[in-house]
């Protein structure tokens, strides 16, 4: 019988046992974590780079040199206003990340608090919080952004708030679900038996135990926020001109789709890379932060 046990004995012995290698040792051997990390880092570096340097100004309009093909001066060519595509992509990463970080922070801070509260209080509090989050969940980000834009006017802040609100119910549900599982564990009963109240148990026992789940979900929510930001900017509800954004670039490219289709491909690819990178990173983190999965790898 060729059991997995035999194969593992025959297999060459690793230089060091897995546990001894630590988090980074394991992380660097995890393919999707490394790839996801590299792609996400690429986006972050682009955004940071655009703060100090872009090949051309992303705001400078030069109609004379519009729709140029890639050349040594403009590496990816220019758009219909003669703006340099590379510069626009670099600067667009900035608004993408800004919107993502702030929106996910809004979602996390409200969602986690509400979820923890629902799980600690149970009963009516839980019912009200969960029904309210169902209610919010029923509105797509685009719809709430349109409503918000109608009240406050379109812009980056509006889209950040709309995306942030859209993130809350998902995170509330996730937090409450995983927190309920922790509340049912015996060490929580033991903690209660030693006289701890619900608040202390939530902070000391529940939150640390669900943190890895939240970190993973946050990366995935970040990817969703990027998509939502692109969608809102494409609709003209998000980032406003002349502020560059990938969604706006797609919007501008739409009218030129038959003359220069590549104008739509570049921002599309940038969005895809960012989303793919964050999803892979989230997958990798999920594996790495789960000690059971780590041992099997």
């Amino acid at each position: 019988m060729s059991s997995p046990l035999t194969t593992s004995i025959d297999a060459p012995v690793a230089t060091r046992p897995l546990a001894a290698r630590g988090f980074w040792g394991r992380a660097l051997r995890h393919r999707s974590f490394v790839l996801g990390g590299a792609l996400s880092l690429l986006v972050v570096v682009s955004a940071l780079l655009s703060l100090v340097w872009t090949p051309w100004s992303p705001y400078e309009i030069d109609i004379a040199s519009k729709l140029r093909p890639p050349s040594s001066a403009h590496w990816l060519g220019t758009d219909s206003f003669g703006r340099d595509i590379v510069s626009l992509l670099l600067a667009g990463a900035r608004s993408t990340i800004l919107v993502g970080i702030i929106a996910v922070s809004i979602g996390l801070s409200f969602g986690v608090c509400l979820g923890l509260m629902a799980s600690a209080k149970r009963g009516w509090t839980e019912e009200i919080i969960m029904r309210f989050s169902d209610f919010t969940f029923a509105f797509p980000a685009v719809l709430s952004a349109i409503m918000l834009a109608a009240v406050a006017g379109p812009g980056m802040v509006t889209s950040i708030i709309a995306i942030g609100i859209f993130q809350i119910p998902t995170l509330t549900r996730l937090t409450r679900g995983s927190a309920n599982a922790i509340w049912a564990r015996e060490f929580v009963l033991a903690a209660r038996a030693s006289g701890k109240g619900a608040f202390r148990i939530t902070i000391e026992h529940v939150l640390p135990n669900i943190l890895s789940i939240l970190i993973v979900q946050a990366t995935i929510q970040f990817a969703l926020a990027i998509l939502a930001e692109a969608a809102l900017s494409y609709l003209g509800l998000g980032t406003q001109p002349p502020q560059p954004s990938w969604g706006r670039m797609l919007n501008d490219a739409q009218t030129m789709l038959f003359q220069s289709p590549m104008l739509a491909v570049y921002p599309g690819a940038a969005i895809a890379i960012a989303v793919l990178g964050l999803n892979l990173l989230g997958d990798g983190l999920r594996d790495l932060l789960d000690p059971r999965l780590a041992r099997e790898r």
Partner: protein, 335 residues
């Protein structure tokens, strides 16, 4: 205080739980009193109400549970006490040791942190004070090299060592009452004895009262002064341990006694069992809960709950047929 000798007085305790099968009367009419320094054993099969009784003393039942009757600690009523007030008692005056040392400790915190918790909470110790005390406690419960291991995490300990840690945690504030819910069930047989001896020593040394819950008659026989046998949420027999083991009155107690595996039995000998299963707590019969499994049951048993009948000094049995059941003289463990 009405009776200064009585530390805890439970009177006609009833607990109704909401289960998926509807309301279940998990505990019915349980009464007992425990003096300071006295030890009491609770025996019974799973689902007979032992743990629910213990949790109701701790005030740790689910919100939906309905508690009736009274639980008094030093004459103060505990039943229906607000949770904030209960928090001051738990881990301070009443402590509990759980069955599964593998899960009763939080994997994210060091054992030192977890044992220090009740000290810092209830006694307002500083971090340094608590650390000193924790090392002393861990040393007392027999954890090797406590000064070094205080900063280790639960997964770095064996099951027996972890149970020692939970004992240290329960004893940190020198409680008046210790509730041990199957403290050795999850441990190796070789460790069981050590842990029980440790608990017994600590109980004697600190003059605590203890309620020991177990399904193992052997554990009860050796560790407590008085015992109560529970079945279907009620106490069916109670009395001094020696007395109960000498003359078991209830057919259920006798069944439990006969069902224990015996050393030296011939190979191939079948273990004796009690036929039938425990009744659903959601639909308990009107009469004696054990009637359907009882070899001696008569119509009268099914008609109404039998009263407690006194059969010896402090020894009571909830059975109408003690004349028949006790004629057989099951028990005689002392022989």
């Amino acid at each position: 205080m009405a009776d200064p000798a009585s530390l805890i007085e439970v009177d006609n305790l009833g607990v109704r739980l909401n289960t998926s099968r509807g309301p279940a009367q998990a505990v019915r009419g349980v009464s007992f009193a425990l003096k300071r320094g006295e030890t009491l054993g609770l025996v019974g099969e799973s689902g007979c109400g032992k743990s629910v009784t213990a949790l109701s003393l701790m005030g740790l039942l689910p919100e939906s549970a309905v508690v009736t009757g009274s639980v008094k600690l030093d004459g103060n009523e505990l039943a229906r006490l607000p949770d904030a007030d209960y928090c001051k008692l738990r881990g301070n005056r009443i402590s509990m040791i759980f069955q599964e040392p593998m899960t009763a400790l939080n994997p994210m915190h060091t054992i030192g942190h977890q044992v220090a918790e009740p000290l810092r909470r209830h006694k307002r110790y500083s971090a340094a004070q608590a650390r000193k005390e924790v090392i002393a406690l861990l040393d007392r419960v027999g954890l090797p090299d406590p000064a070094k291991r205080i900063d280790a995490y639960p997964h770095q300990f064996s099951g027996g060592q972890r149970q020692r840690v939970t004992i240290a945690m329960a004893l940190a504030c020198e409680p008046d009452l210790l509730i041990a819910d199957e403290p050795t069930t999850a441990l190796d047989v070789t460790i069981q004895g050590q842990i029980l001896d440790l608990i017994a020593d600590l109980v004697e040394e600190r003059g605590m009262s203890m309620i020991l819950i177990s399904h193992d008659l052997g554990v009860i026989a050796e560790n407590v002064q008085r015992m109560m046998v529970m079945y279907g949420g009620t106490v069916v027999e109670s009395g001094p341990t020696d007395e109960v083991f000498r003359r078991m009155g209830h057919p259920y107690t006798q069944g439990l006694f006969r069902a224990r595996p015996k050393l030296g039995a011939r190979k191939g000998t079948r273990l004796t069992t009690i036929s039938g299963t425990v009744p659903e707590l959601a639909d308990l019969p009107v009469g004696c809960a054990f009637a359907d499994r009882c070899p001696l049951a008569i119509d009268q048993c099914r008609a109404a709950m039998p009263p407690m009948i006194k059969v010896g000094a402090g020894h009571v049995v909830r059975c109408t047929r003690t004349d028949v059941s006790m004629a057989a003289n099951v028990g005689a463990l002392s022989a």
